[in-house]
C-alpha cells in the first residue's frame, strides 16, 4: 500500500488540476550531477549511459522548437554528467568525481549540487561528498540519491574475482560483459571487483578493500550529504535484460533478501538469502539487501502523465550502511521492478528513462533542493 502521504500529492493534483498533462518536473534549486557506474563513462557498449535507448540525454533541456530533449523537465534545469575511470576502486573514482564537481562548480558559480549515482556511482558520490565538505568546509551535496547501488557488496563481483565456474579470467569476463572499454588506460579490473565485495577479499594483497571498509571511511552522513535516499531495483529472470539474464544463467543467481549482520552465506554481500533466489530479490547484479541508503524512494509510473517519486519511511532510515536492520535487508517495499540496466540507456527495454529522471528531478525540486 502506498502511504497516505505518498498518495496525497497525486489526489490533490487530480482534484484541483483540470489537466494532468500540464504537469512538468519542477526545476531544482541546485544542479543535478550524474555519477555513472562501473564501465559507464558516457557510453556503455555503444549506448549512451544517461540517455534513453536512442541516445537522447535524460536531462537535455528543450530549447525553442527543439524536439530531441526531455519535454518533461523545466527548460532551464541544470545538470552535469561526470565521467570517472570506468573500472577502479571507489576511493579513486570518488576522488575523480569530486574533481569533476569542483570543475562544474567553477564553470557555473554554484555552491551546491544534488548527486544521482547509479550502481557504483552511489558509492562514489559518498566519497566525493566527503571531499567536497573537507575542501569547502560546508555541506555541498544536498540530495545524494543512489540507484541500484551495491552499498554492501555484490555477489557477482566475488563470483568473477574468484574465477568460479564459467569465468576463465577476470579481464575476459569483464570484457565479455562490458566490452573492450576494460582494456582502456587507467582501468584496474581487480581494484573494481575488490571494491564491490563486502569484506576484504584478499588479506594477503597488502591493501584493505571492500564496501565494509569503504562505508567506514566514507559513511552516509548528513555532514556530507544533507539528505540520502535510494532507489531499489529487482526483477525476475523472465523480464531481465538478456545481458543480466545470461549472468544468471551462466554464472550465478543471487539470493539477495536475507538478513544477517555479516556475510552469512559468504557470497560477497552483507547478509544472506532467504532460500529462494527467484523472488525478484536482485536486479541481476545487486541484491536488494545491499541497496538501501537513507530512506527508500517509491517510483510510481503514471500511464500518460509524468511519473512520481516519493520518499517512504516505513522501511526506516539506513544510517550506518554496514548495519541495516532486518527490514531494510529483507523488505521488497518500494522496489522498482526493473533490472540493473533498465534504468540507464542500455536496450532492449521499454522503460522510460526520460520520465524516470524527470520524476526524480521533480522530487528533488519539490523538496526544496
Amino acid at each position: 500500500m502506498r502511504s497516505l502521504y505518498g498518495v496525497l500529492p497525486l489526489v490533490f493534483l487530480l482534484a484541483f488540476s483540470g489537466n494532468v498533462m500540464a504537469r512538468d518536473a519542477n526545476k531544482t534549486a541546485y544542479p543535478i550531477v550524474f555519477a555513472h557506474g562501473m564501465a559507464g563513462f558516457d557510453d556503455i557498449l555503444g549506448y549512451d549511459y544517461w540517455g534513453d535507448d536512442y541516445g537522447v540525454y535524460v536531462l537535455d533541456t528543450c530549447q525553442w522548437g527543439e524536439y530531441y530533449c526531455n519535454h518533461d523537465i523545466n527548460s532551464s534545469q541544470q545538470s552535469f554528467v561526470a565521467s570517472v575511470t570506468p573500472f577502479q576502486s571507489s576511493e579513486q573514482r570518488g576522488y575523480e568525481l569530486y574533481q569533476d564537481i569542483e570543475g562544474y562548480l567553477a564553470t557555473t558559480g554554484h555552491s551546491y549540487v544534488n548527486i544521482i549515482g547509479h550502481s557504483q556511482g552511489g558509492l562514489d558520490l559518498r566519497k566525493a561528498a566527503k571531499m567536497l565538505y573537507e575542501n569547502r568546509g560546508y555541506t555541498v551535496v544536498k540530495y545524494g540519491i543512489s540507484i541500484s547501488s551495491p552499498h554492501r557488496g555484490s555477489p557477482i563481483a566475488k563470483y568473477v574475482f574468484n574465477l568460479n565456474p564459467g569465468v576463465q579470467s577476470v579481464l575476459a569476463a569483464l570484457a565479455e560483459y562490458f566490452g573492450d572499454v576494460i582494456y582502456g588506460g587507467g582501468n584496474d579490473a581487480y581494484a573494481a571487483l575488490k571494491q564491490l565485495v563486502h569484506d576484504d577479499i584478499d588479506p594477503n594483497d597488502g591493501i584493505t578493500t571492500g564496501t565494509k571498509v569503504f562505508n567506514q571511511n566514507n559513511p552516509r552522513s548528513a555532514t556530507y550529504v544533507a539528505r540520502s535516499r535510494s532507489i531499489i531495483t529487482g526483477q525476475d529472470n523472465g523480464y531481465m535484460n538478456p545481458a543480466l539474464y545470461l549472468v544468471k544463467e551462466a554464472w550465478t543467481t543471487i539470493d539477495g533478501d536475507g538478513y544477517a549482520t555479516y556475510d552469512a552465506n559468504n557470497d560477497g554481500a552483507l547478509g544472506t538469502g532467504d532460500g529462494n533466489p527467484n523472488d525478484n530479490d536482485d536486479d541481476g547484479l545487486v541484491g536488494i539487501n545491499s541497496q538501501q541508503m537513507g530512506y527508500r524512494l517509491e517510483y510510481w509510473e503514471c500511464g500518460g502523465c509524468l511519473d512520481y517519486i516519493w520518499a517512504q519511511t516505513n522501511t526506516g532510515f539506513t544510517g550506518d550502511l554496514n548495519a541495516p536492520d532486518a527490514t531494510q535487508m529483507t523488505s521488497h517495499s518500494w522496489k522498482v521492478y526493473q533490472d540493473h540496466l533498465d534504468v540507464i540507456g542500455v536496450p532492449p527495454d521499454t522503460f522510460d528513462e526520460m520520465e524516470f529522471y524527470a520524476a526524480i528531478t521533480d522530487y528533488i525540486a519539490d523538496n526544496g533542493f
Binding site: 536512442y54 576502486s89 573537507e134 569503504f214 500518460g304 502523465c305
Partner: protein
C-alpha cells in the same frame, strides 16, 4: 649543394606524407562544417543492411508473429490513458523518435495490465490513438519487436565485437528494422557519435597543435548540432571541455608545455567551448589551487618514499602519519584511507585541467 637539396627532399617528403595522412583521414563536408564520419561506409550499411549483418555473422531482425486482436473493448481506464497519451504526443507525432516513444508507452501500459497477452492489443491502441497513422505505427511496433528481439538474440556476440564493428552491426539492424526512419529514431546517437569520432581523430592526428585540435573538435560539434550547436555548447560546456582534456594526445601536449603556455591553452580551450570570462577566471583560481596541491603532493610522495626506505614497522607508520598530517591537515585521514586501499592520488600522472 647536395646536402641542401637532400634536406629539401626530406622536408618535401615529410610534407607530402603529412598531406597524405590528412587526406586519408579527410573529414567530409557537412554544409560548411567538417565531420569525421565515414559516409560511404554508412551509406553502404543503409542501402544493404542484410549484407552488413551477414558480413558480421548475424541474421536479419525478425520479430515474433503478432496476432493483432480484431476487436478490443476499451475500458474507462483505457480511454483515460489514450486521451492523456494522445494529448502528450500529438504535437510531435511527425518525429519518428516520438512515434517509438509512444509505442513504448502503450507497451508499458498493456504489459502491466495484460502481462501474457499484451502483444496482440498494441495495434488496437495505436489505431485508437492516431487513426490516420495506424498503419505506420503498427509497422514501427513490429520493427521495434524485431529489433529488440535481434538485440536479445545477439547480445553476447555484440558484446565481444570491437566497437566500430558493433556500431556497424547495430546500424545495419536498425536500418533493417526501420528503414531510413532509423536516422530519425537514433538522431541523437548519430550526433553523439560524430563528436566521439572527432575526439578519436584528434587523438590520433599527428602534427596538430592543441589549438588546431580544438578547432577540429569544435567544428565537429557545430557540424553535428547545426543551429543548436551554440545552445548545446552552452549547456554542456563542462562535459565538452572535460572530454577534450581527456584526449591522451592533448594531455601529452599540455604536459610538454611551459606552465604559462599551458595556462593560456587551458584558458583558450575553456573560452572556446562556451565558458564566460568570469567562469574561466574561476577555473584559473581552481587551477592555481590544484597546482599548489600537486606540488605539495609530489613533495609528499618523495618524502613518503624516503620514510619507506629509512623506517620499519611501527616507527614507519608514525612517521607516515606525521607526514600526512603536516602535508594534508584536514584531508590526512582521507589520504590514509586511499593509501590503505591501494590508491595514491599523487602517484598517478596528473590529468591537466581536470585535477
Amino acid at each position: 649543394m647536395f646536402l641542401k637539396s637532400k634536406a629539401v627532399w626530406v622536408i618535401a617528403s615529410v610534407m607530402l606524407l603529412s598531406v597524405m595522412a590528412i587526406v586519408m583521414f579527410a573529414p567530409s563536408e557537412s554544409g560548411s562544417k567538417r565531420t569525421y564520419v565515414d559516409k560511404a561506409a554508412n551509406e553502404a550499411i543503409r542501402r544493404a543492411p542484410e549484407a552488413t549483418l551477414k558480413q558480421h555473422g548475424f541474421g536479419m531482425p525478425a520479430g515474433p508473429l503478432v496476432e493483432h486482436e480484431a476487436e478490443y473493448e476499451f475500458t474507462p481506464e483505457d480511454v483515460e490513458f489514450v486521451d492523456q497519451v494522445r494529448e502528450r504526443f500529438a504535437r510531435n507525432m511527425h518525429v519518428k523518435h516520438s512515434q517509438i516513444k509512444l509505442i513504448e508507452q502503450v507497451i508499458n501500459y498493456l504489459k502491466a495490465k495484460y502481462p501474457d497477452s499484451w502483444q496482440g492489443m498494441v495495434s488496437a491502441f495505436l489505431a485508437e490513438l492516431f487513426p490516420d497513422m495506424a498503419e505506420a505505427l503498427v509497422s514501427k511496433y513490429e520493427g521495434l519487436l524485431a529489433y529488440n528481439g535481434w538485440l536479445e538474440t545477439n547480445r553476447s556476440d555484440l558484446r565481444s565485437m570491437a566497437s566500430a564493428d558493433r556500431r556497424s552491426a547495430l546500424w545495419a539492424a536498425r536500418y533493417a528494422a526501420f528503414g531510413d526512419d532509423a536516422n530519425q529514431i537514433w538522431a541523437m546517437d548519430i550526433k553523439n557519435q560524430q563528436v566521439r569520432d572527432a575526439l578519436v581523430f584528434v587523438n590520433e592526428a599527428e602534427g596538430l597543435s592543441v589549438n588546431e585540435k580544438l578547432s577540429v573538435y569544435k567544428e565537429s560539434i557545430e557540424a553535428a548540432y547545426g543551429e543548436q550547436a551554440e545552445d548545446f555548447i552552452l549547456s554542456r560546456q563542462t562535459e565538452l571541455t572535460g572530454n577534450f582534456l581527456s584526449v591522451e594526445s592533448v594531455q601529452n601536449q599540455l604536459h610538454d608545455m611551459p606552465a604559462a603556455d599551458r595556462n593560456a591553452a587551458l584558458r583558450d580551450i575553456r573560452l572556446s567551448l562556451g565558458m564566460a570570462p568570469e567562469a574561466v577566471d574561476r577555473w584559473s583560481g581552481l587551477d592555481q589551487k590544484r597546482d599548489q596541491k600537486w606540488q605539495k603532493g609530489q613533495e609528499y610522495m618523495q618524502e613518503r618514499d624516503r620514510i619507506s626506505r629509512e623506517y620499519q614497522g611501527e616507527e614507519r607508520e608514525q612517521e607516515m602519519a606525521k607526514l600526512r598530517n603536516s602535508s594534508f591537515e584536514g584531508e590526512a585521514d582521507t589520504i590514509k584511507a586511499e593509501e590503505d586501499s591501494g590508491f595514491y592520488r599523487y602517484g598517478n600522472k596528473r590529468r591537466i585541467g581536470r585535477e
